[in-house]
Amino acid sequence: MERELRLMKGNEAVAEAAIRAGADGYFGYPITPQSEIIEYLMEANPCVTTGMVVLQAESEVAAINMVYGGAGCGKKVMTTSSSPGISLMQEGITYIAGAELPCLIVNVVRGGPGLGTIQPAQSDYFQAVKGGGHGDYHLIVLAPASVQEMADFVGLGFELAFKYRNPAMILSDGAIGQMMEKVWLSPQKERSKKVPEWATTGKPENRKRNIITSLELDPDRQEAFNQKLVAKYNEIREKEVRLEEYQCEDAEYLLVAYGTSARVCQKAVQLAREQGIKAGLLRPITLFPFPSKRILELSDRIKMALAVEMSAGQMVEDVMLAVNGKVPVYHYGRMGGIVPTPDEVVENLKERIIGG
């Protein structure tokens, strides 16, 4: 399969990209608004082409633990779900982080809390970037803002997950999952035959037994392990920050937004500039690691930052931490599955400017 241009839904792009990235296994459970991913994979039936295993589990709990098992064998495995399902997976995710296993998890976010709505939201930010399950850990979190990035981040997610032996998450939302756009798909990659030295594949004579576990009863050894994780997360913070800037060069007012909100804010920046307001947009592509350093740099020359999110205000806390009190930081958000309009964002920005 060569590089190919197609018109696809974001969810379908994830599925096709997974096959093309040479994924070994997908384990999932249907939930709106991302069921197209497993439907697409079942129909594509990659088992007969690349040998990729696709299995519909009995629950999200089982699905994420299948991912644990597959990842423990050194395989490229993934799952996808939406907010309530991702909540169910938190147990498995923290075990995966604790056992230092690489895998990819896609969250096509819908509004909550509880059963909430099936419409798009960005209200799982805290859950994604602060840990989500119990214990001190982080996921590597990628936030796509287009169908193209939905596809591209599958390969990138796997790459980072294996590089750091850490679970990676694509934090998308119902809008990007459901919208159709043109997308360039990568050529088919072969499934890797490489077996990582830590993988459990049956103990050969020439190595000690491998044990995949997150258990350590000795406090000193557990703390040493925690410190090892901290060092890993710091390295990720140092090396893996990804972001996009739009008209930030002379910006006095910095919008910070990711995913669907960033698309809205790009238009809002144009509208604001038409009205003589020097706005710019910083779009974090990695939410963990968060582009704090760059936001701090920019805060030397801006008057104010406005975090725009489809939530009650979650990422805004990381913007505040980054700015560290240098300029005022505000939040504008819509919830319940409502996507803000560019006009709303500009109006809110103007109110802040006058009010500030």
Binding site: F27, Y68, G69, K203, R209, I212
Partner: protein, 268 residues
Amino acid sequence: MKEVTGTKEYIKPENLVYRKSSLLTDDIMHYCPGCGHSTTHRILAEVIEEEGIVHDVIGISPVGCSVFIYNYIDIDWQEAAHGRAPALATAIKRLLPDKYVFTYQGDGDLAAIGTAETIHSCNRGENILIIFINNGIYGMTGGQMAPTTLPGMKSSTSPYGRDVSTMGNPLKITDIVATLPGTCYVTRQSVHSPVNVRRTKKAIRKAFQYQKLNRGTCFIEIVSNCPSGWKMTPVQANKWMEENMFPYYPLGDLKVPEEKQGDQPKTE
């Protein structure tokens, strides 16, 4: 190594009839005296060694007393979250179909928190072996009531005895999985006496052989003891088990595979 020996003149290599498997590590198992976990670990190691599958087997350890089984048998292991071992095993076997995959789980792990994973992996007929230790109690956390605790049986969370009207009935999950088309071999055994140890070992051997033939899920329940949790000596516990556990959980095969031409596994 301090040893006490019987008649010295008979101790010659050519006279050796039993020595513990070299697949068992030198670590002394953390289990209480007389615990059936130890016995089961020992014979599991023996079967893996005798079948010559050491380099092709992956075990899944549970949460509970036997979480540390990976310290005792020298093979590759994954340690699962509570109850999730069959989900791990499912993926491992699907991704590495030529390997032997088994889970080792207690009654709380398998029949309470992991009921869905147990039933559905059996129902899909995953080509895995599930070893289920049923001692009717949560040993690791200090003797609380298990899904398999007998009616009237005392535990730290049923201190007046299990009242089935409020605490539910003991779950015969092995009987349930035997009804599922996905399971091929379902048996209930014990390891408290020499003859029972021999039968259980034979069952484990058969299960690995069926796995090689891709016949579906093999499920071995081992009705076992918990001397500390039951507050008895090991010998008393085994007697109590015979008198009280076996009537409720009768030993024997619940399901044996239909014979297919040429694929009946060899027996001992």
